[in-house]
């Protein structure tokens, strides 16, 4: 066990491991690229959906059930399914990652919208705001903390799951895991896993700090 950690330590700290096309820097960049793009696409789908459901109050069951759908979704299964249907490309990976991220975004956006004080919405309408003005000037800004939580959760989940890109022969930090498994190189597997976890934790910390800074004027 001690040997394993010592090897892991030298794997992570050797200069050669960090450079080149199979180096950590390059793999990390790939990993982040997949994750950010997938989260961005998911946000483009999930945000309008959550805002619409929250604003109109229609289709709330979609927002609520999406959460459990998201948890039950077999990500690797989805990759394989889309891969079989559409052939080898990054598309199956993005489909799976987006499908994973959308529920967290929709559910939290919806939750943020429903948490807006009904008195405040009533006052907004009563002052003469139109529907879109209530949405963009009142509901959206007030729901923002929870919306950001949703985006953060989605991004963390996607970062942790983006290893599957390597499963269908693409890059990212998952490369170390799958290559390590194929080569029975436990240190490499572990190194990849540790890196993925570290990235997820660091991103989570950064984003929650940013959130706290942005919403420092809020009570709740």
């Amino acid at each position: 066990m001690y040997e394993l950690f010592k090897n892991l330590g030298s794997w992570l700290t050797s200069g050669a491991q960090w450079s080149g096309s199979d180096g950590i820097v390059h793999r990390l960049a790939e990993h982040l690229q997949y994750s950010l793009l997938a989260t961005l696409i998911a946000a483009a789908i999930g945000l309008p959906l959550g805002l619409l459901i929250g604003h109109t109050g229609k289709g709330a069951f979609v927002a609520i059930n999406l959460a459990s759908f998201g948890r039950a979704l077999p990500t690797v299964g989805l990759v394989v399914l889309v891969f079989l249907a559409g052939g080898l490309s990054m598309v199956p990976v993005y489909v799976a990652l987006v499908a994973l991220a959308v529920p967290a975004i929709v559910t939290n956006t919806y939750a943020g919208m429903t948490a807006v004080d009904p008195d405040v919405k009533d006052a907004a309408r009563g002052q003469g705001m139109r529907g879109h003005q209530v949405l963009f000037q009142v509901e959206l800004p007030l729901a923002l903390p929870l919306i950001m939580t949703g985006l953060r959760l989605a991004l963390i989940q996607v970062v942790a799951t983006a290893t599957i890109a390597a499963y269908v022969s693409f890059g990212g930090l998952g490369r170390y895991v799958f290559d390590g498994l194929a080569q029975r190189d436990l240190v490499q597997v572990l190194g990849g896993a540790v890196l993925v976890a570290a990235v997820a934790v660091v991103l989570d910390l950064l984003l929650s700090t940013l959130q706290r800074f942005l919403f420092r004027h809020r009570t709740a």
Binding site: D119, A123, M129
Partner: protein, 344 residues
């Protein structure tokens, strides 16, 4: 100014909130809608700015049918204050007040300047403008709510239990300020409350509603207290409605004379002839000096508290002008009652 003509409101679940309401609210006056919860008073108020649409009948504001106007534009032309203030928690106080001017397309600079002026109007410091609503007390938030409603200088102000959530001391302050503001601004105010004392205090006209959305009586506070239409209204006004009536009459007509000499208690004055306290050989009791525009009710109260049965009368500067006796106050109280009850 605001006319309800045979207005009916049935909600989709079948309950009738307002039943065949015909009511005129005079321009520049305060109309208080009062009744227990579920009597349709809030629904009535909310139909004026189309937060609720009537099922049938017409509502006119300034002669114009509200349902023929664009709802958002209508609401911008009518001030709206609600119970919990409903301030926007993500905007500063100043920006909250500037809401309607901004919606009307006045520039940000102009809207903020207007908002800053209103802070003073409602009795808040300029410094409060930079704060966020949660940093203010309940009473201060309510002031901001009033300022926000006044920002575009609308002729009509709708107030839905605006002082319902603050403590009694602050409530009295806010009522005083509303009366003072109303003297300056002469808005047409529709005010919803379930507190009959508040209604008597603020209303030029009080409309009492009964469960099921029936308007039972609409009259001036004096008329309502002197001649309630039926047992329901009498019950709602409470057992002390005679005393409440006295709260509407002033002390001005009660005769006054010089303070009598002798007796165990004397009224002690300071160098400027302002009453200090009642004094006997071995005790002192506080005195509450009353001005001409104080109510008969407070005079009666003070005459009971006073050890001599006399009340000290002062001018606007607090200088003693004379004293009035318990008997004189009593007689005037009785007279006021009789007049109110026989008046046509």
């Amino acid at each position: 100014m605001i006319q309800f003509d045979a207005v009916h409101k049935r909600f989709p679940n079948g309950t009738t909130a307002v039943h065949d309401l015909t009511l005129d609210m005079a321009e520049g006056g305060v109309t208080v809608l009062v009744g227990s919860s579920g009597c349709g008073k809030t629904t009535t108020l909310r139909m004026i700015n189309r937060m609720v649409e009537p099922t049938s009948g017409t509502i006119r504001v300034g002669g114009q049918d509200v349902t023929r106007q664009d709802a958002a534009e209508l609401r911008r032309s009518i001030g709206y204050v609600i119970q919990q203030a409903g301030l926007f928690p993500h905007r500063t106080v100043l920006d909250n007040i500037a809401t309607v001017p901004l919606l009307l397309g006045h520039g940000r600079r102009k809207a903020r300047a207007r908002a800053a002026g209103l802070l003073e109007t409602v009795g808040l410091s300029a410094e409060a403008g930079k704060r966020y609503p949660h940093q203010l007390s309940g009473g201060q938030q309510q002031r901001v709510g009033v300022a926000r409603a006044l920002a575009a200088d609308p002729p009509v102000l709708l107030m839905d239990e605006p002082f319902g959530a603050v403590d009694p001391v602050v409530r009295t302050q806010l009522q005083d300020e509303l009366l003072r503001l109303q003297k300056e601004l002469s808005k047409t105010i529709v005010f919803v409350t379930h507190d009959i004392d508040e209604a008597v205090r603020l209303g030029d006209q009080i409309a009492i509603f009964r469960t099921g959305g029936h308007l039972v009586q609409c009259a001036s506070p004096t008329e309502l207290l002197a001649r309630p239409a039926d047992d329901f209204v009498a019950g709602f006004l409470g057992a002390e409605r005679g005393l409440k009536l006295l709260s509407l009459k002033t002390l001005a007509a009660v005769p006054q004379g010089p303070a009598p000499e002798g007796g165990p208690w004397t009224l002690v004055l300071d160098a400027a002839n302002k009453p200090l306290h009642w004094a006997s050989d071995d005790a002192e009791l506080p005195v509450r000096a009353l001005k001409d525009d104080d109510s008969l009710l407070s005079a009666l109260d003070e005459s009971i508290a006073s050890p001599t049965g006399l009340i000290a009368r002062v001018d606007a500067d607090g200088v003693l002008t004379g004293v009035s006796s318990r008997d004189d106050i009593h007689q005037h109280a009785g007279q006021a009652h009789t007049e109110a009850r026989v008046a046509a």
